[in-house]
């Protein structure tokens, strides 16, 4: 009797400890003889940018769980483990996070780093260790220009997306003047610069402002109350199109302020805003008519997307968010390469080599890398918010 009570008490406590320690190794006991490899993830897991990092972390974990259960790649001749490493999205924390990953000899490839700055700080270390990094979200163009052979990303860089957005704004929307706003992050300012330059080249008049991102969204330093004043400035400029480079939560605040100020022009944003939360936070009335661009195909058209979203929510306890699908694709790309190499061929360097030749059909796109690690075929798709739903319009011109 006493024993049973004790066991009742002990089980939950042990379960909590074990479940956290053995992340994602649900099927680890099944095949003890098969070799075990680790796929790591580097991104922000604590601090103000944690949410963005968690969006990706759970997607990586989901991909690994599914592969271990034999659901995505059939029965694999190896077991996979997961090692999340927290860099808080910061450049000075990033080398430490990288060293943790590199120091674990079972780690064969890394999903991440999530942020461009963190990537710049950590990539020399990964390059030295011949450890492949596949970033789901680092978009700074210069990352591909350093000759890091182990660097890959499944997102289009700013130089691919910015001009495509500009072409859409100038040619399709026929905007002669454009108000462009970025959130002051490395990602957004790079994208906005690429956008501005391309739009100016096509003859449009571009006014550019930086409204620093706020803590309502990522770990910004900006002042939430600035958006009303920014909206007044935008309205006075009478620009028919406003382009925002940044994330959905700040974009929602800006959009609300713009409409409240009586701005009637068209709103446009980037893949950081391709998130259903944009509509729910701005309200359908405000969000309707917004154009959003992304170098990714419409998730809802893929048959695998709905189960992905459901299973993601089951382990993460929050819905799929920005860059979740990209992280899922990056992980599966790595696993497909490992499957192809087989347990005899898997080592860090061979994965780097194999990734240079991989073709994998993921949720968001067909993953195939250029020699410099950029994703090949950076088709940019335009999305439109109609009746509170984000729908794909097709390829950008």
């Amino acid at each position: 009797m006493q024993n049973r009570l004790l066991r009742k008490l002990a089980v939950p406590a042990v379960a909590v400890a074990v479940s956290a320690l053995s992340l994602g190794a649900t099927a680890a006991t099944a095949a003890a003889s098969a070799p075990t490899y680790t796929i790591a993830y580097e991104g922000p897991l604590s601090g103000g940018n944690a949410q963005l990092g968690l969006n990706m972390k759970f997607a990586v974990q989901l991909a690994i769980n599914q592969a271990n259960a034999g659901r995505t790649f059939g029965k694999l001749p190896f077991q996979l483990k997961f090692l999340p490493s927290d860099d808080q999205g910061s450049a000075t924390q990033s080398p430490t996070a990288a060293q943790q990953v590199i120091g674990d000899s079972s780690v064969m490839a890394v999903v991440g780093p999530a942020f461009s700055g963190a990537t710049k700080a950590a990539e020399p270390l990964y390059a030295q260790a011949h450890l492949a990094t596949v970033s789901p979200s680092a978009t700074a163009p210069e990352l591909a220009q350093h000759g890091w052979r182990n660097f890959f990303r499944v997102v289009a860089d700013d130089n691919a997306q910015g001009p495509a957005d500009a072409t859409f704004a100038v040619k399709t929307l026929k905007a002669k003047t454009i108000f462009s706003i970025d959130d002051g992050s490395a990602y957004a300012s790079g994208l906005a610069t690429a956008f501005d330059n391309a739009a100016k080249k096509m003859g449009a008049k571009v006014t550019h402002q930086t409204a620093l991102g706020t803590t309502q969204c990522q770990a910004g330093t900006g002042n939430v109350q600035q958006y009303s004043a920014v909206a007044t400035t935008v309205k006075d400029s009478k620009a028919p199109v406003t382009f925002y480079a940044g994330y959905y939560c700040d974009f929602a605040l800006l959009a609300k302020s713009l409409r409240a100020a009586g701005y009637k022009g068209t709103l446009m944003s980037d893949d950081g805003s391709l998130d259903p939360h944009y509509v729910s936070e701005a309200g359908a009335k405000v969000a309707n008519g917004t154009f959003i661009s992304c170098a990714c195909a419409d998730l809802s058209k893929s048959a695998a997307a709905a189960p992905f979203a459901k299973q993601f929510e089951a382990i993460a306890h929050f819905p799929v968010g920005t860059y979740s699908a990209e992280a899922y694709d990056a992980t599966n790309t790595i696993i497909s390469v490992m499957k192809q190499l087989g347990p005899k061929g898997i080592n860090r360097a061979s994965i780097v080599n194999a990734l240079h030749h991989v073709t994998y059909k993921g949720l968001t796109k067909v993953v195939h890398f250029q020699a410099n690690g950029n994703i090949a075929g950076t088709a940019v798709y335009i999305y439109h918010v109609v009746k509170g739903k984000i729908v794909e319009l097709g390829l950008a011109p």
Partner: protein, 468 residues
């Protein structure tokens, strides 16, 4: 000089018979529940229980937007809560026993601490201990993993530098600086500028070693420029001005894209290298060379600060910290010494900036935030304000702890909850040891004096009325 925080009348025994404004009903006429509330044992039990229930929630499952109470119910209405209630009961028992046998505990404590108490004041013993620590610091890192070496340089080494620098400002001179990170940024960006990594650069490039004095000079200059007009302000006014300065510096670094590289930061700052008399050595990606370089500088700076503390300057700082008006009255040039402390602290941060910039070889404005200033302040006070060993130990312990948790996620620790644990640690630490881990002797005495209502424990918040 009055202190605003005077000892309150003992609770439960307020002055009787006065025509009081807000006097509690007291004495034998109190209701039973009031007596229960006043019972020390009961209060401690409630405290223990509350503390452990909070711990249960901290370590329990997370909630979510759709089910905001699920985290609470999952951790409290679950059998695991009995563990925490049990632990609370154990702690309560231990505290009660300790109190009951406090005399015995004290005797035991005195016995156990007799030897260290006798030996510690002995300078030979102390220097011997420092030497042993130094040998440890030299030898130990050779035998640890690359991860811990990185931690030793970038997470501990640099922060030790920052902490001992801020210790001069906050601990010695008693000036609350909430924008300390600005000088760190100035140092880092100076290194980037003089080595030619920034978009704006000179026709020649310097070796990072030569940027050290230049960065220190730049940070010091910034310290003087900010200090001369603002150090006349007192306490919290100074705090907010420095805070504003820190924000301004990071925003400027972020906005002046054509000069500083903007939000994208500066990539490609060279590593340290020596090319002298046929000796060529480059501090590469490995961490050990950086570690030893940093260790050498830290030891030198520690010796310098230690001698400074016991010099005429250090005594002037102490006087200002303890009572600025009295210090001024006794002929100390208050502003001069304040500016001196401010710029010495600033230049240390500038140096730390060079180390970071050169080691990571990349800097971005997003790393120089107000939160970082706060973190460095926390390190100093956690370690023991005004105490060099304290600043070193505080930085080492607080910076080591998250890295330890990262490798050993005990009891279901999740990385996204890191700051919950750090926050709780700070509160608990300050409740039980507000003077920090290793307080300086002088500070201890000041706190003791403040307890008896003589002077205030620091010059932070001398009431403004006294200046007029």
């Amino acid at each position: 000089m009055t202190t605003p925080l005077t000892p309150a009348p003992t609770p439960g025994a307020p002055l009787q018979g006065t025509d009081s404004l807000l006097l509690e009903p007291s004495g034998p006429g109190r209701a039973p529940w009031q007596r229960l509330l006043a019972n020390e044992d009961f209060r401690r039990a409630v405290g223990c229980l509350a503390g452990f229930l909070v711990l249960a929630v901290m370590t329990g499952p997370s909630g979510s937007q759709g089910a905001p109470t699920s985290g609470f119910t999952g951790s409290l209405f679950n059998l695991r809560v009995f563990w925490f209630v049990g632990l609370a009961a154990v702690l309560w028992g231990a505290m009660t026993l300790r109190r009951r046998y406090s005399a015995a505990v004290k005797v035991w404590n005195d016995k156990a601490l007799a030897l260290p108490r006798r030996l510690l004041p002995d300078t030979r013993v102390r220097y011997g201990a420092y030497f042993v620590l130094l040998v440890f610091a030299v030898v130990y890192p050779m035998h640890i993993s690359g991860f811990w070496q990185e931690v030793a340089v970038q997470q501990i080494g640099v922060y030790v530098l920052l902490a001992i620098g801020l210790n001069v400002v906050v601990g010695y001179a008693g000036l609350l600086d909430l924008g300390y990170v600005a000088f760190y940024a100035i140092g880092a960006y100076s290194a980037a500028f003089w080595t030619g990594a920034m978009p704006v650069h000179l026709p020649f490039h310097l070796n990072p070693f030569w940027t050290i004095p230049l960065a220190i000079l730049a940070a010091m200059l910034a310290g003087v420029i900010l200090g001369v007009p603002t150090l006349r302000l007192r306490g919290d006014y100074l705090a907010i001005v420095t805070l504003g300065f820190g924000e301004i510096i990071s925003i400027v670094a972020q906005n002046l894209t054509s000069i500083t590289g903007g939000p994208g930061g500066v990539l490609g700052i060279p590593h340290f290298s020596v090319h002298l008399l046929g000796v060529h050595y480059v501090w590469g990606l490995g961490n050990l060379p950086y570690y030893y370089l940093l260790l050498g500088f830290v030891v030198l700076i520690l010796i310098f600060f230690h001698s400074l503390e016991n010099s005429r300057v250090g005594r002037a700082w102490t006087a200002i910290r303890e009572d600025e008006v009295a210090a001024q009255a006794s002929g100390i040039n208050v502003l001069k010494y304040k500016v001196m402390a401010f710029s010495i602290g600033a230049s240390t941060a500038g140096f730390a900036g060079v180390m970071t910039a050169s080691q990571v070889s990349y800097i971005e404005p997003a790393d120089f935030t107000y939160q970082l200033s706060i973190l460095i302040l926390v390190l100093v006070i956690f370690g023991g304000m005004g105490s060099l060993p304290g600043a070193v130990v505080g930085a080492a312990v607080l910076q080591w702890f998250p890295q330890f948790l990262r490798l050993h996620p005990l009891f279901g620790f999740q990385q996204q909850d890191l700051y919950i644990y750090l926050g709780a640690l700070l509160v608990v630490m300050m409740i039980f040891r507000p003077e920090g881990i290793l307080p300086s002797k002088r500070r201890k005495r000041e706190i003791g004096l403040a307890e008896h209502g003589v002077g205030s424990a620091d010059a932070m918040t001398t009431s403004t009325a006294e200046v007029q």
